[in-house]
Each structure stands twice: as structure tokens, then as C-alpha cells.
């Protein structure tokens, strides 16, 4: 186990973790932390991430839900 850097210090509250000058969300509920992170990437890196996302969705198209029936059918055929 890595050493807890906060050991010996008073335990922070949940709210204190998010204390800071920049809000996490705007009034429309948009997660600003994601926008700030995305802006740190180069435009090409952003495109690469879009491709990764598209591939992931494509993989999900071929995903299937395992039901008790399908599990039974798989185990009986093997």
C-alpha cells in the first residue's frame, strides 16, 4: 500500500476536495473539468481521441448481453 500523504493531517471533507477558484460545472450543467482537460490537448490529439471513441462505439455494436439462457446455451454447446 502506498503511503497516504494525508496521514497525520485532519481528514478533508468532501466539499474541501472541490474548493477552488474555478467552478466544476456551469449553470447549464456542463462539466467544465472535461472542457479544461480537452483544451490541454493538441487539435490532433483531440482527433485521435474522437477516433478511439468511434472505435469503442463500433465494438459496442458487436457486444451482447449475457442472459442466464444464453449462458446456459453456451455452456451446453461446449
Amino acid at each position: 500500500m502506498p503511503e497516504d500523504p494525508m496521514q497525520g493531517h485532519p481528514s478533508p471533507t468532501w466539499a474541501s476536495v472541490y474548493e477552488g477558484p474555478d467552478p466544476l460545472y456551469n449553470e447549464d450543467g456542463v462539466d467544465l473539468t472535461q472542457i479544461r482537460w480537452f483544451l490541454t490537448l493538441t487539435p490532433w490529439e483531440r482527433l485521435e481521441l474522437a477516433a478511439v471513441h468511434a472505435r469503442f462505439v463500433e465494438e459496442l455494436r458487436h457486444a451482447r448481453i449475457i442472459t442466464p439462457e444464453s449462458r446456459a446455451a453456451t455452456s451446453s454447446s461446449s
Partner: protein, 172 residues
Amino acid sequence: MPESLPLNPGPLLQVLLEHEVEFIVIGGVNAILHGAPVHTFDLDIVHARTEENFPRILNALQDLQAYYRGRGGQRLFPRKEWLAADGPNLLETRLGALDLLGTIVGNRSYEDLLPHTELLVLRDTLQVRVLDLPTLIQIKEETGRHKDKLMLFTLKATLAEKQKQQQPPSTG
């Protein structure tokens, strides 16, 4: 080639640029290039409908093995006269879906949009023309479709964040 391949926008732009196609990136990929964390499944471009540009587009589309999507087993290759029309050319390519639009909302053509674009440099070598973020927001607002309204929240927040980051730090 399977019916539909996932979008690979970087290499897709690269092929268009290699063939010296004149175009403006709009839509989701444009939003992503501006730093908006949104998802998209196609590359939307408005192409210049000039005699010089048509052969470049057709060469690029041949390279990309493009054909009209949504036509079942029929593989229709784009033609110059179809690219010259106002309407959209919705294509499937070996690098994902590519939509070529003669005009967009408000009957805006390549020439109309040109003053509202920026040249973005990718990987130090590729220069790609994109619609500027305020104009993209304006167009999404004019379109008024539900899917555009959803993206608008993120686009506006991205613009605000970029403007904030560009401000000089306050002193004192």
C-alpha cells in the same frame, strides 16, 4: 469494405488535404478541433464548388473508396454534377462517414463561410480550414435541431473557457 467503418477523422482530413481539396470543416469534428469534448460519427465539410476543386474532390473520394451510404448493397460513386448541387452528399469511406455539403443553413456556401474561418495547423504540417467557434455556435442556433441544441451547451461553455484562458492573469 464493411457497410460502415468507425470515423478516423485525422487521416480522413489528411487525405483531403493531400489532394488539395478546398473545404471548410463544420459540425462535430469542427467542435472537437476547437476543444469541445463532444462525440461525432462523421466528418462534415462544406466544399468549394469550383471547376478546379471538383477533380480534386473526386480524386480524394476515389482514394477514400467513397460511395453514397444508406443505399443497401448499391455502391454509387459521387459525380461532379451531384457535388455541384446545394444538397448534402452523405458518403461512406474507408476512414468513416464523410458528408460533403454544398450549402448549409441560411444557404451559406463555401465562399459565404470563408470570412468566418480559421486555419488550424495539425502536426506542424497540415493546414485545415475550420469554421470559427462563434460562427459554429451561431449556425447551430439557427439550425434549431434538438441534437444541435444539446451540443450548444458544450460549445458555449468551451468558448467561455477559451476566452477566460486567453485573458491576461489579473494582478494584485
